[in-house]
Structures are given as C-alpha cells and as structure tokens.
Amino acid sequence: MRIGLFLTCVNDLMFPGTGQAVVRILERLGHTVEFPSAQTCCGQMHANSGYLAEALPMVRHFADTFAGYDAVVTPSGSCAAMVRESYPTLLPEAAPVATRCFELSELLVDVLGVTDVGAWFPHRVTYHPSCHGLRTLRLGDRPRRLLAQVRGLDLVDLPQAEQCCGFGGTFALANAEVSVAMLADKTAAVAATGAEYVAATDNSCLMHIGGGLSRAGAAARPLHYAEILAHREPAR
C-alpha cells in the first residue's frame, strides 16, 4: 500500500516533530511512507473564512499531488475533515482522493487494524478531542484506544472534554476576547487534571491550548498524540 503523508501547513511551519512521529510509527509497523514535497495547504482556512474561489486552486493542487496514493494520512482531524467532507462538494473530481484521506487514528485503527503501536510514555496525560475530529470525522474513541495501549501512560479524563477550546482558525483573531474566554475554561480543566501533557489530534488546537497554559503559568504542556505514539522505551 502506497501511503502518502499530508503534513499540513501548520505542522510544516511549526511542528516538524509531529510529521516525524507519523513516519516513525508507520515505519515501525512495517509500512513505507512517502512525502510528496509539492504539497502545501488543504485550503481549510480559506474555505471556512468564506474565500471559496481562492480555496479551489488549493483543493485542485492537493488532489493532483496525492492522486497516486492508496491512502493519505494526516496528523490533523481538522484537515482530514476538510479533505474528506468538503472536497467532494467543492470539486467533484477530488472526491476519489478525498475518500482515501485518513486522520492518523483512522488509518491505524480502521485501515491497518492496530491499536498497540509499541509505544512507551511514562507520564500522566489528558486528552482533548478536537471538534472536527469529534463531530465531523466521528473519530470516537480511536485516539484514546491508541493512547490506552501506550506502556506507562496514565490517561486521565479531561472535564468538559468535548467543549471547543476557542481556536476556530481566524475566529481566534477576529473574536479574540470570546476565544480567550473559552480558552480560559479549557486550560483550567487541563490544569485540574494534574496531567503533565494535554494531547490532541490537532496541533492548531494544541497551539491555542498551549498558549493559554503558558500565559497562565500552568505546568501542563501540549503534545500531539502522534508524538506520544512514536515514543519508545530506550534500549537498556
């Protein structure tokens, strides 16, 4: 199976470790991952902000770039939702590649049939289910099932977990005060768990939650769940 990695623009700029983690997990499971270097952005920010005409060339570019792959994997529920749920209506010829695009936990659990990826991460972790993964992709408990198999990991429940963190793309800037009010409740909930790390499927949400935790002086740190799944026990 040819697996193409869609890194996402946010990870491309800000979070290289998450892309590396996806590659390591899949290679450890015996798969080959390719990274088509022509990839850019899925166009979600433009489409969701009402710039459909501007988003369309990005949609077309994505479809061309990933046309030859049996599966496209991405460490973002939000971008996977954009591709799989919005592409077919925006550009019907992008539908075939769109249906083969998976968020990491979908590829691991549904396509590859794996929940134990052989990870070790001896820390207390809480999990925030990001909105588009939760309500558009219906990821359900897939990410948590993967985390539950990680050796040494103490997974603690996040109060009001399913409430949005307030990021919302350009919402975080256009309605900054409301966004920060939502964030304050999320960071308080994270802090209340006593977790060392808050994990999620999306670095955009984690960048927001992490920015709130840092501003509040809280000890918990944001960490993409792929980086936890990639972590292994050092050889003795």
Partner: protein
Amino acid sequence: MSSVPSPITAARPFPEAARSALADQQLRDNLRRATATIRDKRQRVVDEVPDWEDLRTAGARIKDDVLARLPELLAQFEAAATAAGARVHRAADAAEACRIVTGLVRATGSDEVVKVKSMATQEIGLNEALADAGVAAVETDLAELIVQLADDTPSHILVPAIHYNRSQIRDIFARRMPGVDLSTLTDDPPALAEAARRHLRAKFLSTEVAISGANFAVAETGTLVVVESEGNGRMCLTLPDTLISVVGVEKIVPTFADLGVFLQLLPRSSTGERMNPYTSMWTGVTPGDGPGDVHIVLLDNGRTPMLADPVGRQALRCIRCSACLNVCPVYERVGGHAYGSVYPGPIGAILTPQLTGQAAGANHTLPYASTLCGACYDACPVKINIPEVLVHLRASGPKPPAARAGMRAVARVMRRPRWYRAGLRLLRWAAAPWRLVARGGQVRRLPWPMSAWTAGRDAPLPPRGSFRDWWARR
C-alpha cells in the same frame, strides 16, 4: 412604526458587543450555570429515545417538504382555518403585520392585551407598535414578564431571562411589579412564581384580547398549536373574546399526524422534558368554547426570499427549541444580547442575516460568531447544518478589503509549491529575533495582526529545523 431599532438588526458588530458582555462576570456566571443545567437535562432525555436520530431525520424531511411547497400548503391552511371560522391575514413584512394587529386590537376597543410568549411578535416589534397605538401589551410568560418589567430585551429564545439569577429577579419584582407584597417576596423560586401568579391572574380575568404566536400550523386542518410549560398560554388562548396569532409562514406542517414527530422532538430539545406540561390546539372558532373572534396573521418578513437559497433555507426548518444556544460555547460566554437580534446563538447567526439581508446593520458579523465546532448541528432536532450555513453566509457576505487582500495573497502562495516553501523559510527567518525573548519556546507579544493572538495567550515559534530538511537527510 416607532423609532425603536429593528429587533433583528444588530446595532454593533458582534466582536464589540461580545466584548461588553464578557466584561459582565455576573452574566457569565448566570449563563454558565443555566446553560449547563438545561444541556444536561436535554442530554438525559434525548439519550433515552432509541430512535432519536430517525426522529431528527423525519423532522428535517417534513420541514423540507413544507419549504418545497410552501405556497400550496399556506393556501390549504388558509382555506381550512377560514372554513373553521378564523380570519386569516397575510403580512409581507413587520410593518404590515404590526398594522394588521394594532388595527384588530383597536377595533375591539381594548387598550390592554395579554400575550403568550412568541418569537414572531418579538421579531416584528409588536409590543412597541402597540404601545405607540396606546395599547399596553402584558407578557404572561414568567421569564418574558421579568424581562418586560426590567425594561430589558430577551437574551434566549426559550429562557428570555436566562441572564438573571433569582436574587436579581427578586429585585426587579420588588421595584417594578405593581402591588407586589414585599413582606412575602423572597428570592425563593416558589415565592417569585407566586408573586407573578397573583399579578397575572388579575390580567387574565380582566383582559379581552390575547395575542399569541404558534409553534405549529397544520395545513390539513387549519389548526394552530402552542406548546408551553406554565399554563399562562392556556389562559390567554381560552379566556379572552378575541385571539390574534402571529405565525411565521415556515411554522406550517402538512398533516395533523406530523405533529407526532415534532411533539417528541421539541420538548426534549428545548426544556429537556419528555413532554411539555401544556399543549393547546385550536381550529378556528368553537361556539361557546373559547374566543369567538379568532385571527391568524401569516408573517413572511424575509422568509420567502430565503427559500431561493438551497443551502441557507434549511434555517427555516427551525422549531425555536434553542438547543443550539445551550450547547454553544460562544453563546455560553456572551449571552443573547451580544447577537443584537431576538434570535441569538447559532440559529440567530444564520437566521438573522438571512431574514434581513447581510447589509442590515452589523448583521454581516454574525456568521463569524462561531468556531465551527459543530455542537449546534449535533443538537439540532431538525438537523440544520448550522456550520455549513455559517460558512455559506461568510462566502456570500461582505469582507473587509484588507482581509480580502491578505487572504488572496496567501492563496496565491499556497497554490505554488516553490513560493510556499520559500514562504516557510521566510517565516522561520523572520521568527529568529523572537527566539531571543522567548521563554519555554513561547513569546508573549507579537506585532499586528498576531497581536490579537498574544493579547490573551502566548504563541509558539517555528523551530529552527524543518520536517522537509529532516526528510531530505534520510
């Protein structure tokens, strides 16, 4: 019409109005407590219905069918209601509806009317129009009464006084309710309800004209339906001689049997009850039983133009349950007034700009009052895809030239892989100076436009090494 601002036109941009609301800590505490309570109640009674998803689908389908053949169903409703003794009026807009209703009230010679809680009459500013004509309108729903006594406006579709707690309500009653007995008035809910009951009972017994809305209008039979909890509606609908009901044209359901779907969906979604305490139904006039002079004003007020939009028109499925308000993380923080319309929350953000057109006041800012988290869509009993309509309205609405130019520039880069890679390098290079002031990889202040981000949260910096370099080295 009076000089009051339109009840469905936001005077201030949403971000600005939201800022004022956020500054009110009491409001935020009241909202948090109230929305959490209703949210939990709703979830419990929805979870116990095994075919809830089928009911939602049925509700959406019935409403879509209504919207597809509205003129035909309205004619059928009008014929049936008229045959049963009601007089049916058609109002194209708010001004015409107010004119019809004030004319009907004046013809009775009454200078006071009792009102059943109704969104349609709020949408058209009926109370203000009646006041201008010298007619006092008395709201009889407890929460509407609180809001009216406080000279305030509702902040929630179902719970208009959700922004007040009980001690604030006690103060409003003490100051504004005529003849209230201060010796027994505490902030205990039964004491507050008793005070309202005494105040209203006198009105029910003395007033000869009632004004209501309707939750449903059955085309097949000409029947109107009002769903309520307090029994004040039943009083208004049965005691006076004259009953005038203002009904949005989208309230039509084709058959009486269709009510079986909606009377399951509505109470569970709105108050979180299996069944609401009072469901009143009336078909024209029944001699010797209830009002003998029955009028129905079918209100358009921007609804017919909405039908032309295949994406936006799903907002007309709305049955005003307010489940979307109670699950909305934005509404929970800012309350209803920030939306500048009698229709607040997620449904208001898609309904208000469509009813008025986005050019009205600051209504074009409402489709941006959402993170697109999708909680509203999941809660909606008639499956209105609110995030889809929000994005659709953003696409068709006005945009600031600077934002447009910026988004276009980014789009040009994003469709050219070489420009994009150069852009990544440029941003990494530009971030270098901030590394000197970063703590734990986070910076506290960034220049415009990212200053809006760092006003409330820290920002991470792009790391030196890139994924692409790592990939190339392997």
